[in-house]
């Protein structure tokens, strides 16, 4: 990631504020939000922008997250660009609406502050909230830091509103670790963003001269065809994600690699795969281990849906063992990300050994030592030592 942008300015922002700036730069017509920790700063910051005339939009104080998504959908229906943000219980509460929005193809962008789900009740971060929304038909992106959060909000609109996609996008930030951590963030100018992201001209909106019914009932004779189109759009989104990333990089000087970023994976014997803030910590560990001459690599998974199956198929023949860090667990099986990666590897024929590390649940730190331990286990695994396929990291007992 390089900062080649000629204009704009640097500011010391937390992740939530970076999201708020990103949203402001996209000029949404309507913002419908309901506060929930640790997303609240987004709600507050945007309210301040509006109160101080630094942002022109209809800011709706909805009475629930379900209503936040209903209102965003209503706004998108009439051709408005809509934004919302939530977290955890709020995301679960709007679950039904996620299906409605994706199924009726409204290109809404939502920030989600990853936070664990009750019970036991806890406000700190893990990715169980968004990963359990896997089948809602939303594109899901995971960011590593504040800069990527701001940039991804802008990219999310370009992606969602692309004619080939017309699918809503959820941008995920790890609760507190990303949302409340201050970093230097480059804020591009409005002119730069306007040049990258043109005004929204929806092709899926009300036209009084050609009235249509939206989000209607589709019987058994037709329903499956709508689902097929959603899947096709997701498949096309893979290419569009790469295009948008390239175009964004050319425009702002920051490239993120599209669906995945490889970090020192050339000649690596073992690699770790992670999403979100854990990648930042892992970068340091990889550098440290490389200095010791260990052939380690890191894969930053940036998109969970659509899932980069082809990438992992390609990676399967290059490495001997792979560790997948899941900040979630599908009780009764394993981490959700690990399952998908294993499925992609299986279709490649050559399958490296995989250990699924369940870590960072409900805000538990994933330390550099934890990550070093994960690499150690991968090396002993390839040397023939028995390792459990799924392990909890940093557990009390």
């Amino acid at each position: 990631m390089n900062n080649k942008s000629k204009s704009g300015h640097l500011d010391f922002l937390n992740g939530d504020e970076a999201v708020a700036y990103g949203a402001r730069l996209c000029r949404p017509h309507v913002i419908a939000v309901y506060p929930i920790t640790p997303q609240t700063i987004v709600v507050e910051k945007i309210a301040e922008f509006v109160a101080n005339n630094e942002m022109t939009c209809e800011y709706i104080h909805v009475e629930s997250e379900h209503s936040a998504m209903c209102a965003a959908m209503g706004a998108s229906l009439v051709g408005a660009r809509a934004f919302t943000a939530t977290s955890s219980q709020g995301l679960a509460y709007m679950h039904e609406m996620l299906h409605y929005v994706s199924g009726s193809r409204f290109p809404i962008v939502m920030m989600n502050a990853n936070r664990t789900l009750a019970a036991p009740w806890n406000i700190f971060g893990d990715q169980r909230d968004s990963l359990s929304q896997r089948d809602t038909g939303w594109i899901q992106a995971y960011v590593e830091n504040g800069q990527e959060a701001l940039d991804m909000i802008i990219q999310a609109y370009a992606l969602a509103e692309d004619d080939r996609v017309y699918t809503p996008v959820m941008v995920n930030l790890d609760g507190f670790v990303n949302t409340h951590t201050f970093e230097l963030v480059h804020i591009p100018t409005q002119e730069e963003v306007d040049a990258f992201l043109p005004p929204f001209k929806s092709k899926n909106a009300v036209d009084f001269h050609h009235p249509r019914s939206f989000c209607m009932t589709a019987s058994t004779e037709w329903n499956m065809e709508f689902r097929y189109q959603q899947q096709e759009a997701m498949d096309r989104a893979k290419g569009v994600i790469a295009e948008v990333d390239k175009r964004f990089g050319d425009h702002f000087g920051r490239y993120y690699g599209g669906m995945v970023e490889e970090i020192r994976c050339e000649d690596a014997e073992v690699v770790l795969v992670g999403m979100g803030s854990v990648v930042g910590t892992s970068r340091i560990v990889v550098d440290r281990l490389r200095e010791k001459g260990l052939k380690v690599g890191l894969v930053k998974l940036r998109f969970y849906r659509p899932f980069p199956r082809e990438y992992f198929k390609g990676l399967s023949g290059r490495v001997k063992a792979m560790g997948v860090i899941d900040r979630d667990i599908s009780f009764g099986y394993e981490g959700a990300v690990a399952s998908d990666i294993k499925s992609a590897l299986a279709s490649a024929g050559v399958v490296p050994k995989v250990i699924n590390y369940i870590a960072g649940i409900a805000g538990r730190d994933i330390t550099k030592e934890n990550i070093e331990g994960m690499y150690d286990k991968l090396f002993s695994f390839i040397q023939g030592k028995d390792e459990k396929e799924m392990q909890f990291i940093g557990l009390r007992w």
Partner: protein, 294 residues
């Protein structure tokens, strides 16, 4: 005042699949004739959405959207905000939802939208039960009615609790305009619809919509039964405007309750004692109406 000869010949709701004798088609049709072609209709899960928006046979010739059960109020908020943000000021945002979709699962979203003062028209058509799912009780089902999940039996006289007063819930919000209406009184309804066009903010009309299928009466009696509901005091026509309630129709004396109850299968099981209980509820409501509004 609305006159039949001034109504447009244009149909905005046509070819729907409602049951014979259902008042719903009339309500949607007349409401849209009053509002015209620059209207966007939002519909939650309901009889209305089920009989009008099954792909590919779309029955509206205005834009429409089918919404999640709980979300009508918030949908209307979003549509209204989206239009405003784009400088579109000459379109109406209309919600049409059933009694369950309004008074039960949709009440939170409706209350939020009214409190925020968003600009929309909301019609709650009240057929007094979840008809679309097979006649289950809602909070707007009247006391004593047999439904499929509040059945009459040896230990039950049907629905145990009286009907929730949605009109007064809206008044408690100090909404700019609220009214009750009935599909049996089309001019009254159209005049109320006409009023909503010139009032900014939320407008709410709670319209009684007798249901031949769910209530158990012949499909040619819809209007008659709608009128009997008003004449027996089981329903009333009123408006809340500028902080005051006006009763539109006040029967000099209420007809005996039995005249209404005996017309419908859902009340057939009631004993004299049960009817006495219902009458006490009715009389108490009318005492409140007389004390406050007459």
């Amino acid at each position: 005042m609305v006159k039949a000869k001034d109504l447009t010949d244009q149909e905005y709701l046509y070819g729907h699949k409602a049951c014979p004798g259902c008042g719903l088609g009339t309500i949607g049709r007349l409401a849209l004739k009053i509002l015209g072609e620059r209207t966007i209709v939002g519909l939650p899960a309901s009889c209305m959405s089920t009989v009008t928006t099954i792909y590919p046979q779309m029955n509206y010739s205005v834009p429409s959207l089918t919404m999640a059960f709980a979300g009508t109020g918030a949908l209307l908020t979003g549509m209204s905000a989206g239009l405003k943000a784009q400088g579109i000021t000459d379109a109406y945002v209309l919600g049409i939802a059933g009694d369950g979709g309004t008074a039960d699962i949709g009440l939170q979203a409706l209350s939020g939208a009214v409190e925020r003062g968003d600009d929309f028209i909301y019609i709650c058509y009240d057929n007094e039960a979840y008809m679309n799912t097979g006649v289950q009780r809602s909070s707007l089902t009247p006391i004593g009615a047999h439904t499929t999940n509040s059945p009459a039996g040896t230990a039950s006289y049907g629905k145990k609790n009286p009907k929730k007063n949605l009109f007064e819930i809206m008044i408690a919000h100090r909404i700019p305009y609220a009214a009750t209406a009935s599909s049996a009184y089309p001019y009254d309804f159209m005049n109320k619809m006409e009023k909503t066009k010139n009032i900014k903010g939320p407008k709410f009309i709670h319209i009684m919509c007798p249901c031949p299928t769910g209530w158990g009466f012949a499909s040619d009696l819809t209007v008659e039964i709608g009128k009997l509901a008003v004449e027996t005091g089981m329903w009333y026509l009123a408006e809340y405007e500028n902080g005051k309630v006006k009763m539109n129709v006040v029967p000099k004396t209420l007809k005996p309750l039995e005249e209404y109850l005996k017309t419908q299968r859902r009340f057939r099981h009631l004993t004299a004692e049960n009817i006495q209980l219902i009458q006490e509820h009715r009389d108490r409501e009318w005492e409140l109406i007389r004390e406050r509004w007459l």
